[in-house]
């Protein structure tokens, strides 16, 4: 399901709150955030229910501000938001108890060892001391810092610091994991590893993920729902899973030797067609498969050179949202 935004002169708003058939994770209700006179988030309204939600947008779009507001770091100027049904104004503590957060920037104590820091963070989240120690080791093993867990964090490379931040975010087994630019500063193999971990965590069904990234590929690889922000407003919401399903009916075809009869025959099947030279775009209705197209082509001696399922990539969606 894709919800297109409505472009007004000054605002871009969703026509209706997005609803998906799952429990709401984050509900935004006309949420605005101001720093002094500057309005950073402008009347955001959405309901996000995906297992992994991607937050996209150019620099200064308000992605990190939205995350920080959901965590209660910034107070909303107007409107409200709920995370797992807890209001961000009144239920800060409950929300923070359910969330694991991996910040974008450096966040570590240089003189502490990774295992001490992760353990302390586990204890601050409410784990008993011995459990926190056990889970700190486990989390560091899981992210791949097992060998380096007794080293001071100040001696870590950028990639290792990212992994340590992830370890502290998952040590207490949160229900929601907020990852702000998790692949920043990672080399290709470390990036692959990070993406694989996010996949695993998402597929474990034990945690839901909000991923904030500039890298469209990271979001496309891991998320099933995307919210694109632009200048503090929602520019586009997209349920990638639904969109992938929907796009299975959208074909692009290149052919030779066809005349109007072939197009007519396809349209008689109930397909919508757009033809330019020897290329045709087709939307297949329910019950019609590609073999029907091949059959019609064979009957009319039309040679099909290429036939692809065409779907908008996240890049297409993002660029459209930015142009809107």
């Amino acid at each position: 399901m894709s919800t297109t935004t409505q472009n007004g002169a000054a605002t871009v708003e969703l026509q209706q709150p997005v609803v998906a058939p799952r429990t709401p994770l984050i509900e935004l209700d006309n949420l605005s955030v101001k720093f002094g006179d500057r309005e950073i988030l402008r009347g955001l309204t959405a309901s996000l229910r995906g297992r992994a939600i991607g937050l996209l947008g150019p620099n200064g779009a308000g992605k990190s501000t939205l995350i920080n507001t959901l965590l209660g770091f910034y107070p909303p100027h107007s409107g409200s938001a709920r995370v797992f049904g807890h209001d961000i104004r009144t239920g800060k503590r409950e929300i923070r108890g359910l969330v694991g957060y991996m910040p974008e920037n450096d966040a570590f104590i240089s003189k502490m060892t990774a295992v001490s820091l992760v353990r302390m963070m586990g204890e601050l989240s409410g784990l008993p001391s011995s459990v926190a120690l056990e889970r700190a080791h486990e989390a560091l093993f899981y992210v791949g810092l097992a060998e380096a867990r007794y080293r001071q964090l100040g001696t870590y490379s950028l990639g290792m610091k990212q992994l340590a931040k992830l370890a502290q975010a998952i040590v207490h087994g949160p229900k929601l994991l907020i990852l702000d630019e998790p692949t920043n500063g990672l080399d290709p193999s470390a990036r692959q590893r990070m993406i694989r971990m996010i996949h695993e965590m998402r597929d474990s069904q034990q945690v839901r993920i909000v991923l904030c990234s500039h890298l469209l590929r990271d979001v496309e690889d891991t998320c099933d729902e995307v919210l694109i922000l632009k200048q503090g407003r929602i520019a586009h919401y997209s349920d990638l899973q639904e969109e992938r399903k929907a796009n299975r009916r959208f074909l692009e075809m290149e052919f030779y030797g066809a005349n109007g009869d072939f197009t007519e025959a396809i349209e008689k099947l109930g397909c919508e067609c757009a033809i330019r030279a020897n290329r045709m775009k087709i939307i297949l209705p329910e019950g019609i498969e590609t073999r029907d197209i091949f059959r019609l082509a064979a009957e009319r001696d039309v040679r099909i050179r290429r036939l692809n399922f065409r779907r908008d990539t996240l890049e297409d969606i993002f660029l459209k949202a930015m142009e809107s």
């Binding site: 002094g36 965590l71 108890g97 409410g126 784990l127 964090l153 087994g173 949160p174 229900k175």
Partner: protein, 285 residues
């Protein structure tokens, strides 16, 4: 999430009480503090003077020994002045200990942006400050009012009930004067620690406040021909309050009430500065 499995698993066990989370900060900060051998040595050295005082109390009640060494029996009088001097010595030691222990408390969290890691958890800013302040609070209590009360109890035991009832107020003075000093030092050290990320500079600034504060105050008094300069001299303000608490009869350049108010203002300013800096992210308006 067992190590051998290496998969993600959520936690479903029991959690510690929500109110007790600040204590985690206390434990880790204290552990970190005593990793330094110098800090540990300084802490141990702070008990030297209380031991001397203990010996003096013992001697004051052991007339036979004083006569043996030929000292007049009145040379050691245990009264309010004795405890006032005790507080002065321990107060200076508390200051030195704070200058080394205080600046690292918050600056190391700020230096590499670790504060969001604390505040994305069920831990409020006041709880964070409480956790960090309690390290200094308990550390300084251990060298000020706790040994002070022990000395008072020893003296009371040796001197008998008549002395105890007559001088019971001294116990209150020991506690109150220590707590004010501890509050001022803790807030000042933490505020400096929050604003000056470099630990050594923060420590130096704290020492400078005491030593240069007095010089600066005298300069103001001399140039402006006033006594108002004493308000920038924290040590003088504290001495004025302590003099009144221990009923030491000396003349003050500024009224005791004004000294109290000035100290409370210092505390409020430090707390304000501290809370302004201790937040997950700074808001750029």
């Amino acid at each position: 999430m067992a190590v051998y499995r290496r998969t993600y698993s959520s936690y479903t066990g029991a959690l510690t009480p929500s109110w007790s989370r600040w204590f985690v900060l206390f434990r880790y900060a204290r552990q970190n503090l005593f990793r330094s051998k110098f800090q540990t040595a300084l802490f141990v050295a702070s008990f030297f003077y209380p031991l001397v005082c203990l010996a003096m109390i013992y001697l004051a009640h052991n007339l036979a020994f004083l006569q043996q060494i030929g000292a007049p029996s009145q040379v050691l009088v245990i009264d309010n002045r004795f405890f006032f001097y005790y507080m002065n010595v321990q107060g200076v030691l508390a200051f030195v200990l704070t200058a080394f222990a205080g600046p690292g408390l918050i600056s190391q969290d700020l230096a590499n942006g670790a504060l969001p890691l604390y505040f994305c958890r069920p831990l409020s800013r006041p709880e964070y400050v409480l956790g960090k302040a309690s390290v200094l609070g308990i550390l300084l209590s251990q060298i000020t009012w706790i040994p002070g009360l022990v000395l008072f109890i020893v003296q009371a035991t040796l001197a008998g009930p008549a002395w105890t009832w007559d001088h019971l107020w001294i116990a209150g003075s020991i506690i109150v004067s220590s707590l004010i000093w501890i509050s001022v030092l803790s807030l000042l050290a933490m505020a400096l620690s929050a604003w000056v990320k470099w630990r050594i500079v923060a420590g130096a600034l704290l020492l400078a406040m005491l030593f240069f504060g007095a010089g600066f105050a005298e300069a103001i008094n001399a140039v402006m021909r006033t006594q108002a300069g004493h308000f920038v001299n924290l040590a003088y303000l504290m001495r004025t309050v302590w003099n009144s608490l221990f009923q030491i009869d000396v003349e003050h350049a500024i009224p005791v009430v004004d000294a109290w108010i000035a100290i409370l203002v210092y505390c409020a300013i430090c707390l304000g500065l501290l809370l302004r800096k201790v937040r997950a992210y700074e808001v750029v308006r």
